[in-house]
Symmetry: C2
Subunit: 238 residues, 2 copies
Amino acid sequence: MSTVELGELGDEATTGTLAEQVFFRLREAIVAGELQPGERISEPALAGRFGVSRGPLREALARLAERHLLERTTHLGARVVSLSFPKLIDLYHAREALEGMACRLAAERATPETLAALEGLLDNHERRAPLHEGAAYVQDQGDLDFHFRIAQASENPALIPILCDQLYHLMRLYRRTFVAQGVRSKTALREHRAIVDAMKERDGPFAEQLMRRHIAKARKSIEDLYAAQLRAGDVKEE
Amino acid sequence: MSTVELGELGDEATTGTLAEQVFFRLREAIVAGELQPGERISEPALAGRFGVSRGPLREALARLAERHLLERTTHLGARVVSLSFPKLIDLYHAREALEGMACRLAAERATPETLAALEGLLDNHERRAPLHEGAAYVQDQGDLDFHFRIAQASENPALIPILCDQLYHLMRLYRRTFVAQGVRSKTALREHRAIVDAMKERDGPFAEQLMRRHIAKARKSIEDLYAAQLRAGDVKEE
DNA sequence: AGCTCCCGTATTGTTGACAGCTTTTCCGGA
DNA sequence: TCCGGAAAAGCTGTCAACAATACGGGAGCT
């Protein structure tokens, strides 16, 4: 139910301390939209819902706040992070930098098997894409899978946590909320192909450049969408 | 005692909940070297030292682990993160990507006042540099100040926390431990000048390129140092 | 009527104690 | 002397209760 291909790529672990379990379950609840963005969180209520005491819960809250999925205010409680177009655009700037670098490193380091797996991933996407046309959900999930699999292939323990533990889940949250820019599905797949090709040629700098342009294009399409909605008055400026 | 110029740039706050205070004090203790890298942390001991109960302390531990200053293992406790050359090199790769982007954004967005302040900062560094030749400590602190002031000037709430809340303190920790690569002081200052010049010309892409080369050069000098120590057998490979 | 002040209520912040796991130590045997 | 195992000590994980603060409503004053 969670991912399209293979297993999870993050730091999941269904076992361990209660604080850990609550951390994962709560994160999933946020990303899945069970707890709406901006919604206030009641500690006693959540503790009851998860069947734990407030101790482990507060530990989980602290961790999630550190990852910017929650915002805590002293004596006032925690709220699910609130979303906005400007924040999403900022996120894409960070992704452009980080994933570009990750792509360069992955191009230089990834094993042939990893590269083949990446290509297989794209084959699957291509095969599935025409099936439910416009159903961008699967496609988007696949897109995230592709991006963060490259992050892992960078084998850089400084980049991976930032991309896979922080930005990845924020992106999932945004995808769930600001749906359906699946318009770029077709051309995105083509760009993914080009990236993998560059990686197979072991051309790190070029792979980085392609990845950066790929993400920058996605950002621009979001900026356009934002500008349009601004003109239509659909969304408050801020 | 803490910074060379102006006030702190992070998220400090001496007041608030106990958990918050402990978080800041413990982070400072780690970065300052009071708690040595790799050292095990006893919750009762630390709780006693800070005069708080274990509840708030554990919240602080969870947050610090999220920022990779601690490593926690179930039923086994927390350890201060252990340092290594490869990790430091990975860190520089991340910085190259992130600070490059931050520099580009700052070049496009920073107010003339901010740019002037940046130049003033460099003037101060230049004035102080020859005073205590080789005393790279102040110089290094100044270097970090410069870099993370640019991060703030990017005005990107996705980049700033990563650079200023996570990488900044890790860098301080490494500087304290793997001392004295102040050899690059002179040329680093020149490169800083060039970066600010590009920013003043509002040439975002060029400023980014300069920043990336600047950080890449620093990384390479560290890689050389590492290779030399490897040959000398000073440090275990891993 | 509207504003201010005050009090009750609910929620967050914090504590101390209990349960389970890990490690250490100590003792007996080879 | 060295090794193995069991008990004990210490630590981490968890809980329920206490303290302090913020929110909501009503009375009283202007």
